[in-house]
């Protein structure tokens, strides 16, 4: 195990050096004045996402694309779709329909280029007749649904009053105008205070470098959501903003075979979520904490 780790470390160091050489070569070839040193300098002193100019952003995105190419040999496209005016995203989940198959978890992993050891979505198997989350089991196995159980998927609630963003000492995580709470992975120092503050265990810390099978990498990436993370930073669900800000549904919704998941713009009277809010008895988790979740549950 240890030997394997060491080998891996060596390889990545070598790859890093190779990358450095390659970048120097490209820099020289394009005739730009930047040297490898300047390149590293730029990465190290990269500004906060909100302070990046459009040109800065293009450079940063190109760098990330290059890195992925070097490491995985995959061509990806990094962008940053902005929040849309007049849009406020919310999620609805029908607990009567959810049968605990966890296809959403797998789809999310793939869509968001997650390390395969965890998921943004945790599905709790709970005895019928209680709502005590502490009695839930997130490691259930076997065929679902089981007799006498119901299934409660939990992911980031994109809280209206997020305790996580308030906690962060350096504004590395914040709430966007369309309601999505994002993280600048290049700014986060990995103190994990936001993680301690989140009541829904929605945040994951990259204790190790994420491991993703190269052939499964999703090339449609955005800076604030599913681009490949590095070690030592926090990450979380972003309602697939690279999809939803482009008019698509989140991957978890599309993967759900039962139709339990509903998503949309809560300000739009024609959206599914608007309908649900109007016609169903919805509830949120841990309402007493006043985080004001934008993730609503209901039973039919």
């Amino acid at each position: 195990m240890l030997v394997e780790k060491k080998l891996k470390a060596k390889v990545s160091r070598r790859q890093f050096l190779k990358g450095l050489v390659a970048v120097t070569a490209t820099a020289a070839a394009t005739g730009s004045s930047s040297t490898a040193k300047a390149f590293l300098w730029e990465e190290y002193f990269q500004k906060h996402y909100k302070n990046l100019s459009p040109e800065d952003k293009q450079k940063v995105f190109a760098r990330i694309e290059n890195e992925t190419k070097k490491k995985y040999g995959v061509d990806v496209k990094v962008s940053d779709p902005p929040p849309l005016k007049g849009v406020k995203f919310a999620y609805g989940l029908n607990l009567t329909k959810c049968n605990g198959n966890r296809l959403c978890v797998a789809a999310c992993q793939k869509e968001n280029n997650l390390d395969r050891s965890f998921g943004y979505i945790k599905v709790l198997e709970i005895d019928k007749g209680t709502m005590n989350l502490e009695k839930g089991n997130r490691y259930y196995e076997g065929t679902v649904p089981k007799e006498g159980k119901f299934y409660l998927p939990i992911q980031c609630n994109q809280c209206e009053q997020p305790p996580c963003t308030r906690a962060c000492p350096i504004e590395a995580t914040w709430k966007e105008p369309d309601g999505i709470v994002v993280v600048d992975y290049d700014w986060c120092i990995g103190c994990r205070y936001c993680q301690a503050a989140c009541p829904y265990e929605a945040r994951h810390f990259n204790f190790h470098t994420p491991e993703i099978p190269a052939e499964e990498i999703n090339p449609n990436q955005s800076y604030l959501s599913n681009r490949i993370r590095k070690r030592g930073v926090i990450e979380k669900c972003t309602f697939c903003l690279h999809r939803t800000r482009n008019g698509k549904f989140p991957a978890c919704l599309e993967a759900c075979p039962t139709g339990a998941r509903k998503f949309g713009n809560i300000l739009d009277p024609n959206s599914d979520i608007y309908y649900i809010m109007k016609h169903k008895n919805v509830f949120v988790l841990k309402e007493d904490l006043n985080t004001i979740p934008q993730f609503f549950y209901y039973f039919d």
Binding site: K5, A9, Y44, F45, K47, H48, F118, K122, L124, N132, L133, E134, K135, G136, R138, I154, P163, R166, A167, C168, P169, I170, E171, A172, W187, C188, I189, G190, C191, R192, Y193, Q195, A196, A197, C198, P199, Y200, E201, R203, H204, F205, N206, F207, H208, T209, R231, G232, V233, I234, K286, L289, N290, T291
Partner: protein, 416 residues
Amino acid sequence: MTTYLEYWLRMTQCALKGSRAYYVWLFILLVFISLGGVSYYHHLTEGLEVTNMTDQVSWGLGIANFVYFVGVAASAVLLVYPAYIKKHKEIKEVVIIGEQLAFTAIVMCLLFIFTDIGRPERLWHLMPFLGGKLNLPSSLLAWDVVVFNVYLILNMHIPGYLLYTLYRGEKPKWYLYSPFVMISIFFAISIHTVTAFLLSGLGTRYFWNTAIMAPRFLVSAFAVGPAILFIILHVVKRYSLLDVKAPVFEYFKNVMRVTLPVNLFLLGCELFKELYPDTLHASSAHYLFFGLDGHNMLTKFIWPAIAMNITAMIIVVTPKLRAHPIWFLAACILSIVGIWVEKGMGLIFPGFIPTPLGEIVEYAPNLGEIFVSLGITALGALIFTVITKVSITILTGGLRMPSEDDPFEPRIIRHD
């Protein structure tokens, strides 16, 4: 300027010279520091994955020690207040040691944080003048950064200035230190209060989300601080020329007579509030004191710690035992260890167990984490030893600026 550089040169010389025991002590510390350094290097290259921390228990031994040493740093105020404000003569003679303990403890705290974060190279993000962003006023952690740095600078400036004037044989100008003393008293309380708020401000961590967190922190700090200073000043009295007078030790005893019982009382209040209503929010307390669903790693530590605190309290409130030097020394050691367990791991770890969604994942630090913490502690001890040695030499007249009409180099007198 040259005098100042000379001053530093002389101090360095003084720090490097010492008895055999001094060298042995430094050597032992260096061994631990290297072990810590190697372990930290391992954390850096392999990532925090090699620690036992997880998404479920995402803060471990480092943060526990951080919280403990914030208390040590804050406790300097126990000397500063009577020395400068009450003009207590005997305490004033040794106040510098308290300030240096505070300085050292703050440096250690910063190192505990530094070694715990995932991206230490990005630390400049915390420095607005370098282009960083501090999330003020909302983030308690950002506030902590501010108050820590102010307190650090104050505790460098005050003793530094006083020692330098003493070295030059001048009278210190009151306006260059008195105002800062006042501010430092305020900040001593602040660092510990903000650190308590950092934990109690998390609505979802029921174990931390209590109003008496800050008072408890301060009281336990004022129990540990005197205990540590009591031991340190005994060593100083015995091995250096600085005479620590009896009233100083009496003073510590009197402080501990109050803080040890109050500390236990507050713990009792906390226990009652958690366990009597027995809501679901009490599961962390259940885990800590009785174990939860067969998980009881911490119960093995918390009960001995409470026993230690009770024993220490009995000693300090019993006049006969308190008067006996060995018994009192035992009380000091018991409360240093007892409160370390209670306030460090007994406070931080259960905050994560069970998780907000009810999962129970236990945590115990591994050898690497223990070495990093030991290394930082040894580094703190090293810094403290060296600066105390130098400042005592200055205080006792062993290091003075050579005056024009005195052609002789200042002799360094017995310093070990």
